[in-house]
Subunit: 356 residues, 2 copies
DNA sequence: TCGATCAATGTAAGCGCTTACATGGAATTC
DNA sequence: GAATTCCATGTAAGCGCTTACATTGATCGA
């Protein structure tokens, strides 16, 4: 012991060139040298401490601390062939619902010692594809994706690479990948049924571009189905596409009002659009819901405090995120193959919707 | 050519064990073999195409496509010692202002071919520290941090590791790292001056825990300074700490109302708390601003559509994100050492604040 | 007391890539 | 036409880690 200490002290005083204390960041080998063990032992100390005897461990950990050693993640990943990392690609960070689900997702992952890599695709298929490749080449052990609709080649690629995925925000037993989410069609149809049962016939909807967005297209289909069931002509539905945002919802509402026939209700693709529509309607001197009813989707906090409070579809986003994490972890560990998980939604009837 | 084609075809038909088309994901060496060049050439094709003659490049790219080759990021990072990656740690994803700034940050980075790694610390110093280490060990070329206040050891660590950082959301010429942001003290003091000039004397504030949050503590200091300047006793300020969220703002308001002396104005640390406070006040039968005035901070979209519209401090978050990206890229490229950048804020006086 | 057994540690071969340096052939110069 | 230059490509040495396998010394049963 004493001898070693002395040895180290001398080393620190008399620095020969080849073991100079230069500012290169310390490596495993440096730690091993300081602790007078092999690199294998240091590695084991860090990764499976119980394979190493207490005395050695203490010695190694001391060396780690002394050098301020931090393992090089890339080298580790290269050698170990897994990263303890899971990736997630969401359409945008600016939408609170994704942020919230992701937060829950991350919390659940963190509990299992897995770290999360996030990317956002701005709702663009090409960007998403690029990000999937990036995530894979970074060695993500699994990936969370939003919505099922994408080029089949991507699913093939992922399968070939052996990277498990979970698709969230949709529930689709037909899909050949595990999904966790709700049935957008049924949920929106339920709301539309309610709207129609309250006497509304002329309906407008503000929706995201449904072309590459299966949540939006399914919700639209839900409205159409409800109308058709009620014997309402499809021409009584007017559709306005809009980007996400409060102002955008307001602009979309103006477009609707500019049409020759004014609808009695505006069903919005999400709460943010709905709140924007309500605000603009009020600015324009309309009363909500007396002059025009408005509905949303998601039931985020703002729905409750909007005036008037918003009729919407409640989606348990945190639960969905949590569930997605659970499934993905099981998949990565190959514990069992996950099947689809249905998240239940419910109608929240509030005063932004009234009888016609 | 013909010969090669034939050769490949035969290879695909007769698979010997050592070159079997097994499902191992293809490597640089596989591409090199297929294209009949060295691995160095393949690498050059991918990283600096102009060093390679057109003919060779075509051949290599064809091989890449045929194999569906995707480079292994970790191997590349290990060999090249840089990752073209920048990390950012924000307190939470659930706050739209961070999301928005981050979006702009990412857009700017993307334009320079840099990818972004995001982590969120849930406002916890220990988590943030862990994430900084993670980012460093993952080889981030630079890191964006929010707020200046943290253990000096962290700054030392970062410096030792040679990882440049930019601190956003504060403007502090004293700091020994580049900052980009606004002066939280001055901004809030300006608002408080306005409030006081409208006759308010008894002030309440809803704030995040200021202990580890220099934005919050500086804003609080701003209010105190304005009061002191106006000769108002510090005891006329009542402080309620609250977590982030609409409901939380509401609860905090209830605490304020439960106190013996009711303040005439509630100055909130951000718009979300303010909107929550307004909503709860209305629920409790109070009129805003007649019975109680409310102010916010940030000027997010919701401030405008709140009823009544919210008096707040406008912060150009996107600009701040963009500027942070620019600075960090310069730092990473060692183009020039960046100094502090001031982002100007402005008062938005709306009807949630009225004369006492 | 001796080999068998086992736990702790060491040895060294990669993981997939980049890049300094070596090489060889074509283009250029005189 | 020989010497020089230069450009395209190849060779091979790592980057920092993990892990299969080898080694060692201690422990144990007979």
């Amino acid at each position: 012991m004493k001898c070693n200490d002395l040895g180290n002290r001398i080393k620190n005083l008399v620095m020969t060139t080849d073991e100079a204390n230069n500012d290169r960041t310390p490596t495993l080998a440096d730690v091993a040298r300081l602790a007078k063990v092999s690199t294998a032992t240091v590695s084991r100390c860090l990764n499976s401490p119980d394979q190493v005897i207490e005395k050695t461990r203490t010695k190694v950990l001391a060396a780690v601390r002394e050098l301020g050693y931090a393992p090089n993640f890339n080298a580790r990943a290269l050698a170990a062939k897994h990263t303890n990392t899971i990736g997630a690609i969401i359409p945008t960070m600016e939408n609170a619902i994704f942020a919230r689900a992701l937060q829950a997702f991350q919390e659940e992952l963190g509990g299992s010692g897995v770290t999360l890599l996030v990317a956002s695709s701005s709702y663009r298929a090409d960007l998403e594809e690029e990000q999937i490749r990036t995530l894979v080449s970074r060695g993500a052990d699994g990936i969370l994706l939003i919505g099922y609709h994408r080029d089949p080649k991507i699913y093939e690629f992922l399968q070939r690479q052996g990277v498990p995925i979970v698709v969230a925000w949709v529930f689709d037993p037909q899909a050949d990948v595990p999904t966790v989410g709700f049935d957008n069609f049924t949920a929106m149809k339920a709301l539309a049924d309610q709207v129609i049962s309250m006497g509304h016939r002329r309906i407008a909807t503000i929706t995201a571009n449904p072309e590459y967005n299966d949540r939006a297209s399914e919700r639209l289909r839900g409205i159409r189905a409800a109308m058709s069931e009620a014997g309402i002509s499809a021409t009584d539905l007017s559709i306005v596409e809009s980007a996400y945002g409060i102002d955008e919802g307001g602009k979309a509402l103006e477009q609707i009002l500019a049409q020759t026939v004014r609808p009695s209700v505006v069903m919005c693709g999400n709460d943010v659009l709905a709140v924007g529509a309500i605000a603009r309607a009020k600015e324009l001197g309309l009363r909500v819901p007396e002059d025009i009813s408005v509905t949303g989707f998601d039931d985020i906090e703002i729905a409750k405090i909007s005036s008037p409070p918003l009729t919407t579809v409640h989606v348990p986003h945190r639960r969905m995120g949590k569930e997605a994490a659970r499934m993905l972890i099981n998949l990565v560990n190959a514990t069992k193959d996950q099947k689809n998980t249905l998240i239940e939604t419910s109608l929240k009837i509030r005063s932004s919707l009234s009888k016609r």
